[in-house]
C-alpha cells in the first residue's frame, strides 16, 4: 500500500506527452485502456467518455447504478479507495456489469489522475479530500464530478473554481436536486415572483443519525486500510472505527455534519431561487449546540440564519423527525418541497407553477449525470457548475462559522470576507503534509 511517505510525487502527464513517451499500440497492449477522448472527434456522440471513481463507499454506491446503466459511450475504467476491501468490491461490481476484468484498481488517487486515457473522475471521498483530489485531477486534464459539499472550507472552494477556469475543465457539483424537475420548477416559480414578494426561506435538515460516547480508544488500523491516506490533509489522529467510514461527517476536521451533508442540497435550492448562484448572503447569525465531549464535534442542533442584500432571510435548522425540506414563504403563501413531495398553502400555487412561458426560464436538466457528460462533450458549464457549488458550500460554511463563534457576522460575497478577524481565519486551514492548496 502506498503512503505519502513512500510514493514519489507525480507530475501532470498530458496526452501528448503520453503518446510521445510510449507508442499508442504499446500502451493499448500494456493496459486495457480505451482511446482517450482527446484523441477522437471531441463532440462525436459515439465518443466514449472514460470515468474513474475516487472513493468507493456509501456515496459512490449511488453512482454505480446510473454510470453502469449508461449507454456504452460512458465507461467506468478505474476505481480508487484507500480501503482495499472497498476498492476491490467496487472493481468486482464494475467488472461483473461489463462482463470483463478491465477495471483497474488504485490505492492512490494521484496514480488514477495520471492515467492519461481517463476523461472524468467522480470524487466520492470524505469532504476533507474533495479539493485536493479535484484540483489534482483538473491539473491533469480530467473533468470532475465532485460530490457535495464541494469543499470543506471557503478557501478550498475558491481554489477549486480557479483550477476549473485555469485548466478549462468541466466541474459539476453533486447537488443533484438541480437536475430534478420539482426543484427546478419551484426555483423558477419563485424567481418569477409566483409567491409575490419573497419573505423568507426555511430549510430543515435531519438531525445527526449517529452518536458516540464521551471518550474513545484508539484501535489497531485494519490491514485493508491505509489510514494515513484516509486522513490525508486532516490533522493526524489515531484510528478508531467510530471515526472513519461514514461517521467522518460528524467530526469537524473532516466535515461539518448535516450542515454540509444535507444543507448543501436544500440551501442550494434557496440560492437558486434567489438568483444568488454567483454571490451570496451579506449577514449570518447562528447558535448551534455542539458536543463538549467525545469524538464527534459537529453540531447536534443546527440553527442559523443568513440574510441577503434584498432583505430576504434563509434559515437552516435541525428537524429531528422527518427528512429535509425547504419552505419558501411569500406574500401569496408558502411552498414546501422535498425530494419526494411538494405542497403549498394553496393548490392554485402548484397549478400556476406549471404554467408555460414564464418570463424568467431556468435551465432544465432532468439527469445530473447526463448533464455532466453532455458538458464533457460540449465543454459548456454544467447545471451545477463549480462556482455555484462553491457559493452554496460557502453558505453552509457561513452557518458553521457563525454557530462556532456564536455571534452575528457580516459577509462580503464579492471579497469573500467577514467583518470579523477570527471568522476570517476560519475560512481556511492548513493541511497536513504533503497536501496543500498551492
Amino acid at each position: 500500500m502506498n503512503s505519502p511517505l513512500s510514493l514519489p510525487a507525480l507530475s501532470p502527464i498530458s496526452r501528448r506527452d503520453f503518446l510521445k513517451k510510449s507508442s499508442l499500440a504499446g500502451a493499448l497492449v500494456a493496459a486495457p485502456f480505451i482511446l482517450p477522448s482527446g484523441l477522437r472527434g471531441q463532440n462525436a456522440p459515439s465518443k466514449k467518455i472514460t470515468v474513474g471513481i475516487v472513493g468507493c463507499g456509501n456515496i459512490a454506491d449511488g453512482h454505480y447504478g446510473p454510470l453502469l446503466g449508461s449507454p456504452e459511450s460512458i465507461r467506468v475504467v478505474a476505481v480508487c479507495d484507500v480501503d482495499r476491501t472497498r476498492r476491490d468490491s467496487a472493481a468486482a461490481r464494475v467488472n461483473k456489469d461489463y462482463d470483463n476484468k478491465d477495471c483497474q484498481v488504485f490505492g492512490d488517487f494521484r496514480e488514477l489522475n495520471r492515467r492519461p486515457d481517463i476523461d472524468a473522475i467522480f470524487v466520492c471521498t470524505p469532504d476533507h479530500w474533495h479539493a485536493v483530489i479535484s484540483i489534482d485531477a483538473m491539473r491533469n486534464g480530467k473533468d470532475v464530478y465532485c460530490e457535495k459539499p464541494l469543499t470543506l472550507t471557503i478557501a478550498e472552494g475558491r481554489a477549486m473554481v480557479e483550477a476549473a477556469r485555469k485548466y478549462d475543465r468541466v466541474c459539476q457539483h453533486g447537488t443533484q436536486h438541480r437536475s430534478m424537475k420539482r426543484f427546478h420548477d419551484v426555483a423558477e416559480y419563485v424567481r418569477n415572483q409566483g409567491l409575490g414578494k419573497l419573505e423568507r426561506i426555511d430549510c430543515f435538515i435531519p438531525g445527526n443519525n449517529r452518536q458516540c460516547g464521551a471518550t474513545w480508544k484508539p484501535e489497531p488500523v485494519p490491514a485493508n486500510l491505509d489510514w494515513d491516506m484516509w486522513l490525508g490533509p486532516c490533522p493526524w489522529r489515531p484510528y478508531t472505527s467510530t471515526g472513519c467510514h461514514y461517521n467522518f461527517r460528524f467530526i469537524a476536521e473532516s466535515a461539518y455534519g448535516q450542515v454540509t451533508n444535507w444543507g448543501a442540497h436544500y440551501l442550494d435550492i434557496g440560492q437558486w431561487a434567489l438568483d444568488m448562484d454567483g454571490s451570496g448572503p451579506v449577514e449570518v447569525d447562528g447558535h448551534g449546540e455542539f458536543p463538549s465531549s467525545g469524538l464527534f464535534t459537529n453540531a447536534t442542533k443546527v440553527d442559523f440564519t443568513v440574510r441577503y442584500a434584498n432583505g430576504t432571510a434563509m434559515t437552516c435548522r435541525t428537524r429531528y423527525e422527518g427528512g429535509g425540506t425547504v419552505r419558501f414563504v411569500g406574500e401569496r403563501g408558502w411552498l414546501d418541497i422535498a425530494r419526494d413531495k411538494m405542497s403549498a398553502s394553496d393548490n392554485n400555487l402548484l397549478r400556476e407553477m406549471q404554467a408555460p412561458n414564464k418570463k424568467v426560464q431556468l435551465e432544465l436538466s432532468n439527469n445530473h449525470h447526463d448533464n455532466f457528460f453532455a458538458c464533457v462533450r460540449s465543454r459548456k458549464r454544467p447545471i451545477a457548475d463549480v462556482e455555484l457549488g462553491h457559493r452554496t458550500t460557502t453558505v453552509c460554511n457561513l452557518g458553521q462559522i457563525a454557530m462556532v463563534l456564536g455571534r452575528k457576522l457580516k459577509w462580503d460575497p464579492v471579497k469573500e470576507e467577514f467583518d470579523d478577524a477570527m471568522a476570517n481565519r476560519l475560512r481556511t486551514r492548513a493541511m497536513r503534509s504533503p497536501w496543500s492548496l498551492a
Binding site: 505519502p4 511517505l5 510514493l7 514519489p8 510525487a9 507525480l10 507530475s11 464521551a214 471518550t215 474513545w216 480508544k217 484508539p218 490533522p235 493526524w236 489522529r237 489515531p238 478508531t240 463538549s292 465531549s293 467525545g294 469524538l295 462556532v404 463563534l405 456564536g406 470579523d420 478577524a421 477570527m422 481565519r425 476560519l426 481556511t428 486551514r429 492548513a430 493541511m431 497536513r432 503534509s433 504533503p434 497536501w435 496543500s436 492548496l437 498551492a438
Partner: protein, 193 residues
C-alpha cells in the same frame, strides 16, 4: 434554614471532626484544575472537557483581547508534560488569535519533523512578515513530505520573498520529486499573486 440533623448511627460516633458550617464539608473536593494547563495534557480519546472550556473562552474573545488569549495559550504551550494531542489543540486555538508574538514560540516547533504539522497549523494563519520569515527559515530544517507541506503553506501565503528559495528547490537535483513539485506549484501561486 435546613440545618442538618446529626446522624444517630454508630458511624457518627467516630472522632471525625465535623464542621458546624455545612459548606466546609465540601472543601476536601480540591481546586478545579486550570483548564489552560490541562488542555496541554489532552490525550486522543480522553475527556476533552478542559479543552472545551479553553475553546469556549478563545472563541468568545473580542478582538481587542486577542493578545490576552494568545498569552494564555503560549503559557499552555509551555506546560510540562504537554502531549501530542495537547499541542495540536493549542495550535488550533492559536490559529484563531495568534500574532507575531507567537512566532518565536512556534518557530522551533516548525523545524522539528515531530511537531511541524501542529506549528504550521497555527503559523499559516498568522498575519505578517514574522510568520513568513519563520516558514522560510524552516525550509533548511525539513525534508520530504514535511518540507512539501511547508512549501505549500508558503505558497498559500503567497510569500514573494520566498521566490528565490523556491526556485532553487524546484531546480535542485538532490530534492525528491514531491518537494520539487510542491515548489513548482507554490511558485505558480506566487506568480498569480
Amino acid at each position: 434554614m435546613n440545618a442538618e440533623t446529626p446522624p444517630a448511627s454508630p458511624a457518627a460516633k467516630t472522632n471525625r471532626i465535623v464542621s458546624a458550617n455545612p459548606a466546609d464539608r465540601y472543601s476536601n473536593a480540591g481546586a478545579t484544575p486550570d483548564a489552560w494547563q490541562e488542555c496541554a495534557r489532552l490525550d486522543y480519546g480522553s475527556d476533552r472537557s478542559f479543552a472545551w472550556t479553553v475553546r469556549e473562552q478563545v472563541i468568545a474573545t473580542p478582538p481587542d483581547a486577542y493578545a490576552r488569549a494568545e498569552e494564555k495559550l503560549l503559557k499552555s504551550l509551555a506546560t510540562p508534560g504537554r502531549t501530542e494531542a495537547g499541542l495540536a489543540f493549542i495550535c488550533q486555538m492559536l490559529a484563531m488569535v495568534a500574532s507575531a508574538k507567537s512566532v518565536p514560540a512556534l518557530a522551533p516547533l516548525l523545524k522539528d519533523a515531530k511537531t511541524t504539522e501542529a506549528a504550521r497549523y497555527a503559523l499559516e494563519r498568522v498575519p505578517g512578515p514574522e510568520a513568513d520569515a519563520a516558514l522560510r527559515a524552516a525550509l533548511a530544517s525539513l525534508s520530504g513530505p514535511a518540507k512539501a507541506g511547508l512549501i505549500g503553506s508558503i505558497g498559500v501565503r503567497k510569500d514573494a520573498a520566498a521566490k528565490a528559495a523556491l526556485d532553487a528547490i524546484k531546480d535542485s537535483a538532490t530534492e525528491p520529486a514531491i518537494v520539487r513539485d510542491a515548489a513548482t506549484r507554490a511558485l505558480a501561486r506566487l506568480a498569480n499573486a
